[in-house]
Amino acid sequence: MHSTLQDRIRQMLAGHEVVGVLGLREHEGAVGPHVFTAEEDTARLVVEPKWPLAKTGWMIVRSLPAGKALGLVCRGCDIRAIEELVRAEQIRPGALRTIGISCSAGQAEVCLCETPFVPGEEPSVGVDPMSMPAVRRLCRDPDRLNTWREHFRRCIKCYGCRNSCPICVCPACKLEDDGYVTTGMVPPDPLAFHLIRTMHLADRCVGCGACQDSCPSGLPLLSLHLAMRRALRERTGNLNATGALSLMLTASHEDGTLWEDTLGSGKPGGGEYER
């Protein structure tokens, strides 16, 4: 399977379909994101550990000129994240050519993932997050407020959860706005900081777990988001409210675009909370 993956990357590079392929590379004993541009490089490509690359891909693609594309070796959650970014006009359709890998059942259990597979491939087994004891303890237990209080108290407000999130790409962020979250206070207001973030992601979270993976204090943020996803599905019947309506007011602009216009279609963009 690994060799066919490398074959596909070589094919993409040889055909000049893409300027490079973003994937994970083993280098001097460590693994990190790398853009493969030469075919012989691909021998050092690895697919483990899980490392959501959608945000990295978005950062690279937004600076590419029109007509250029980037390949991306990614998982089901990344593909969902890219769909959301395309819908929000953050990425041109087709600018990211994905090469999907489905996750193992073990990885799905670590990620509490319901859909650990790539669209179009053989569906592998997912887990129901709400049946996991760890999630139930956090979201259903009668004493959960105390548990959450202890977790929130450990937050060092590094913004790692926001910065690693493939969906959090607003140019202006309410988490940095003194009107919503007191600036210069650590730990941050627990109700404001964490819950505002959860509400903003309620209809867009793809469940990749990048926030939890990047948290230096080990806050179980994924459980919060997964419980919200479940609540949304119970309310609307959809996993995402995609397409129907945009529920959350993030940094919206006068013309209704949610985010800064990075595609240069001539619409106004950027700036603070314009009304």
């Binding site: 959960r144 105390n146 309410k174 009107g179 819950l195 309620a202 529920l247």
Partner: protein, 151 residues
């Protein structure tokens, strides 16, 4: 000793209930007005913030209010289907229902957020809702001081 000594307001018996009401000016604000004109008895627990439409009340604002130590927040809009602003109260309702779900997920009571859609248009309706809401909040413990921004 588990909890630090609390001041008198945070113990249940003598606690002063504090709530904020976001009232849509086409519906609930009229109800509040009428309640005043008709001199109906109202609890002194709340302050009203008039808004053009309930859809303008972001969940973030409600969270900000709770993080400032208020006991509860009420959002009152027009009846569903009677919105002056292009059915804006339907998505607003979904959004605020999700916020109630979120409060429940981390262990706060969902009743801290009162939603009313067209049920506070008359003075007596508004007064009844506010009396009921104040009674509910009085039955709940004060929001944990460690979850609240120090003022």
């Amino acid at each position: 000793m588990t909890e630090p000594a609390l001041d008198i307001r945070t113990t249940n018996a003598h606690r002063e209930i504090r709530a904020v009401v976001f009232a849509c000016r086409w519906c609930a604000l009229l109800g509040a007005d009428r309640a005043g004109k008709e001199r109906i008895d109202l609890p002194a627990s709340f302050r009203i913030i008039p808004v053009e439409c309930a859809a303008g009340v972001e969940p973030d604002l409600v969270l900000r209010a709770l993080a400032d130590g208020l006991d509860g927040v009420a959002v009152m809009g027009c009846h569903l289907g009677g919105c002056r602003h292009n059915e804006a109260n339907r998505p607003a309702r979904l959004r605020l229902l999700l916020l109630q779900d979120l409060l429940e997920i981390i262990g706060l009571d969902r009743r801290r957020l009162l939603l009313s859609w067209g049920t506070a248009h008359e003075g007596y309706q508004f007064a009844g809702l506010m009396r009921e809401f104040t009674a509910i909040l009085a039955g709940l413990p004060a929001v944990d001081p460690t979850l609240v921004r120090p003022c």
